[in-house]
Amino acid sequence: MSEHIVKSFGEELEQLSADIARMGGQAESMVADSVQSVIRRDPELAREIIARDQRVDDAQADLERKVIRLFALRQPMASDLRATFAALKISADLERIGDLAKNIAKRSRVLSEAEALPVARGVDQMGRAVSQQLKNVLDAYAHSHVDKAVDVWTSDEEIDEHYNSLFRELLTYMMEDPRMISGATHLLFIAKNLERIGDHATNIAEVIYFVVTGENLAKDRPKTNTVEAGPEPEED
Amino acid sequence: MTDAAQDISIKQAVEARLKKRHRAEQRFRLYGLSAILLALAALATLIGSIAMQAAPAFTAWEITLDVDLDASRAAPGVGQALPGSPEFEAAVRRGSYAGLMQDAMRDRFPQIEERSQLRELFGLYTSVSSSGLMNRVLDNPSLLDRQTTHTIPVSDDVDRYLKGQVTGIERVRNAGAAQLALADDGAASLRLNPALLDAIQSEAGEEGFGFGIDDPSVIVRFADGAARITGLQGDVAQAEILTPFAAGAGEASLLVLETPEANRLISDAQIVWTETLRDAGVITRGFNTYLFTNTDSREPELAGVLGALVGSILTMLVTMFMAVPVGVFTALYLEEYAPRTRWTDLIEVNINNLAAVPSIVFGLLGLAVFINFFGMPRSAPLVGGMVLALMTLPTVIISSRAALKAVPPSIREAALGVGASRTQTVFSHVLPLAMPGIMTGSIIGLAQALGETAPLLMIGMVAFVADTPNTFTDPSTVMPVQIYMWALNPERAWEARSAAAIIVLLSLMIVMNAIAVLLRRRFERRW
């Protein structure tokens, strides 16, 4: 596509993308680090992550302001409109991802004070999978790769499986050893949070698809797990 | 109105009227076209009739005489005076050139001796023309005592006769033999052979005219002589001899002049001589240079427009140098400087009014103010020019203002916007852009002034002026006034002269307007 005649408009739009990319980077590292803090039982790291969340929140507020400004002053149209709109939506997802990562970090601080649970590997695997999803979707955004975005969108299923198995495992531990209940509850929530992060990545993928094609991804996502399958109802 | 039925009824109503409306359309268009064609027909008639009237005036019949410039008559008492000396000139001026020319003429018709006939003979040209010969001698003293040929225009009546404007002519050459019967009492009788008789009767008989003074003239010519038939008896015709015959008989030719002698200014005898001279190649037709090289004259054949032309040019110069700068300056002031006040409104209304004031009123102004009040000379190009300048001034102002107005205000804003002063803006942007328009308007105004007559009548430019004016204060006349004066002369010959003068004036104006149009085309700018 050609350049905008009014360069500053083009610059402002690029600025939005850059902001999203930076926020995405921050959120991505927070997710990875928060999982590490759980596994490594590292309260210091956790504290740091909690602090970092403020930055993402600020960035999101800032971006929202910029978007409103852009709507008011530039009246973006067509692809510009979609891009602006997408930036707004993605930033909200990223902000939520940051929040969820922070929540994981908070719980990891609680966990690190309690006894260790033998589910580190499951959390680690799930954390990696989620981080990968996030990374992929952010790459797709940076390069406007629809295919990559669609890949992320379809592979959310994998994360859901991780979650289901972790959930069952944790329930087993809790029943086996009531002392672990408190810790396992936190881990439950951590797993839930990771699953939510995966959902947000899928949302971002949908938005990317919309920016590039102007169409929405079909509503009926090919999710395989059903509500009754596991002991846990699927959050949507 | 969304109702379909209603829509259809509307459609029908529209359709129903269409035919009528289209017919009205055609009619209206036809009116417009007719109006234009009518106006153009008027123009064509005007130009056509003038051109037709003027056409004869551009050629002139001239008579070329062999003159013997005998010094004793051409320059009596010249003695040894050197050519160019005052004495020489005085001597030449004493010369009797008219007599010399009469002699030359007489040589052509040695048979004619009667005084009255001779007067008629010399009436073939105007005696004033002899001064031309004198001038030639003054210019070229070596002509003295030599034989020379001198060409002068024939008189207006002869000229008109030769151009066929006086009478219808029937010529029958070799009509048959004729014999002079007796010629004792001035009246003669001719014996005509049957062929000639037939010819005469066929010319005269059809209309059944007689041979009286109110009838067409039938002239029989043979043997260098000519006689007008006054009656027919068998094969003998009574005749009045116009030119004596050199022999008693000969193969005759007939000349029938349809207009009776009494109704024309040229006599039968003059016609016969003219015919003779023309046959001899003495009277020839040439381009009428007199029209352009002569000044006004009492004799139509000698009258020319030179004086009026120079007068017009001088007058126009005065007009131009007064009206154009003042007009342009005024326009500049009003358009670019003057604040909109009552005062400028007054000037503006005033100028618009002046433009529509009848021109004759300017004449009255000139008469009352320039001539009576300031005591300036009458009939002078200076005064004429000033009066016309005042008359042209509003035209120049209005067209200059229009040209200035046509320069879009954005140009002024642009110049002012970059910090040019009012005067810089006007003189370096507005005026140059308006200049073609101003020039065009000025030229058109001057062309109008050139054709203006009425105000000049008021200031005495109507006087007869026989000299070419040299200065702005010399008495002079101008082209349109010249035309007016000529047109009012009763002799028919003036009609053609004034028409010819009109052609000259129109050509002048066409040239001016063409320049204006060219300027407009060349520099026209559309915003």
Partner: protein
């Protein structure tokens, strides 16, 4: 070449030099950077040139205009009493001869007194010329000095030069006013003299016009008859005929040209019509006199009644032809000024072309057209040459177009051409007629211009 001419030439050169001097000076003052100056260097040049040339030239002009009368006046101080008490005309004649003698021209008569006066005039003139020449040069020099000494970075040369320019322009625009003033005053002045001899009532309402009678003073009824009604009637008759010809043809022609004609038609027809406007009136007069008049007479004779060659009809017809382009081009302007958007509006409503013109364009243009017609009437009334040549001289009160009539303008021309005594009522009557003519056309013009102006404002 006289002293005055030489001085004028010197002055011209000095002015040009002053311009360069001023510019140079400004450049020096600015040290080569003109942006430091208040005004560009050339303005300093103009400023110095104006100071140098303007007052000096003004002095020369004054001398040229008033020099001779002043010298005459001075010379006349020494006239012997018996001569000085002579009537003014004789003194004038005397002075004219003396002046002719003084400047080496041919006097009408000479005498010792004349020679004496001539010497005096010549002497005074020589002195005056030299004084003026020196004074002029001195003023120019002073101007040059003053001007260049004023040149500085802060000199508002541009503003001053522009003030002078503006002054010159203003003076020019005053001339137009002076012209009107001149017309009004001269007409009024002479008319008043006329009205002191002939009562205005008689003039305006009298039915008899025969000014020719009053040629000799001892004649009975020396004042003649100055009832102008027949002239007004003749003027009106001819104008009416002219407008009957010109208005419909002119209007329809304008409509056709502006609305129907193709570009080529317009290119051909419009200039042709303009030719009609450019033809001098004397040519129309000629045409009326020698073509139209005889033609009408011929037709009438063929129809069985005799009419004179000079008739109101001939003059009116030809005047009508003359006015066609006037009406058509004014109407054309007016019609073209109607915005295209109005036409588009009507076309888009489904109006045919003629409906558009008659119902939208024409009403919109009507005020302008009325103005144009009024101007045309004013023009017809004031037209002189055609009627002089083709309408005749007979001051008849008639409505018959085949008769010869006379008009105001014809009478003005008749009364004022040929030999005239400037104070006979006959001559002065022309000015009274001129005054009437002026007032009538003025009224028409004012109304017409007002109407047209209102119209223009509407579509500007």
């Amino acid at each position: 070449m006289s002293v005055s001419h030489i001085v004028a030439l010197i002055l011209l050169v000095a002015t040009a030099a002053a311009y360069y001097r001023g510019r140079e000076r400004a450049m020096t003052v600015a040290g080569g950077a003109p942006s430091r100056l208040h005004s560009m260097p050339s303005y300093s040049g103009y400023y110095v040139a104006i100071l140098t040339g303007l007052p000096a030239f003004a002095l020369l002009m004054l001398y040229a205009v008033f020099g001779t009368p002043l010298i005459d006046m001075a010379a006349m101080q020494s006239l012997p009493a018996n001569v000085a008490s002579a009537p003014p005309e004789q003194i004038e004649l005397f002075m004219r001869d003396a002046r002719a003698l003084a400047f080496g021209e041919q006097p009408s008569r000479t005498s010792a007194l004349h020679m004496d006066m001539a010497d005096r005039i010549a002497g005074l003139t020589r002195i005056a010329t030299w004084v003026v020449a020196l004074l002029t040069l001195a003023i120019a020099g002073a101007g040059l000095y003053l001007g260049q000494s004023q040149v500085s970075t802060t000199l508002r040369a541009r503003n001053r030069v522009e003030t002078v320019v503006k002054g010159v322009l203003l003076l020019s625009s005053v001339i137009a006013i002076l012209t009107t003033l001149g017309i009004v005053l001269s007409l009024l002045f002479e008319s008043l003299r006329f009205f002191s001899a002939v009562s205005p009532i008689e003039f305006l309402f009298g039915l008899q016009w025969s000014p020719q009678i009053a040629l000799r003073e001892d004649q009975v009824g020396q004042s003649g008859a100055f009832g102008a009604i027949p002239l007004f009637a003749g003027t009106f008759l001819i104008t009416a005929i002219a407008m009957t010809v010109a208005v419909p043809i002119g209007l329809y022609a304008a409509i056709y040209l502006s609305e129907y004609a193709t570009r080529t038609q317009r290119k051909v027809f419009k200039p042709l019509l303009e030719i009609l406007a450019g033809i001098p009136t004397v040519v129309y007069g000629f045409f009326a006199l020698l073509t139209v008049g005889p033609f009408i007479r011929a037709i009438c004779e063929a129809a069985g009644f005799g009419v004179p060659t000079q008739s109101a009809l001939a003059a009116g017809l030809v005047m009508g032809i003359m006015i066609i382009p006037f009406v058509s081009s004014l109407s054309d302007d007016v019609i073209n000024a109607v915005p295209q958007s109005l036409r588009d509006g009507a076309y888009a409503m489904g109006a045919t072309k003629s409906e558009t013109i008659r119902q939208v364009v024409f009403p919109a243009a009507l005020p302008g057209i009325v103005g144009a017609v009024l101007l045309a009437v004013s023009r017809a009334i004031g037209e002189t040459m055609i009627v002089v040549m083709a309408a005749g001289q007979a001051a008849k009160l008639t409505g018959n177009p085949f008769e010869s009539v006379t008009t105001i303008t014809v009478q003005i021309v008749t009364l004022l051409t040929g030999d005239q005594e400037f104070d006979s009522p006959k001559t002065l009557a022309a000015f009274a007629l001129g005054l009437v003519l002026f007032i009538v056309t003025l009224c028409l013009n004012v109304i017409a211009l007002r109407v047209v102006q209102k119209y223009r404002e509407k579509y500007d």
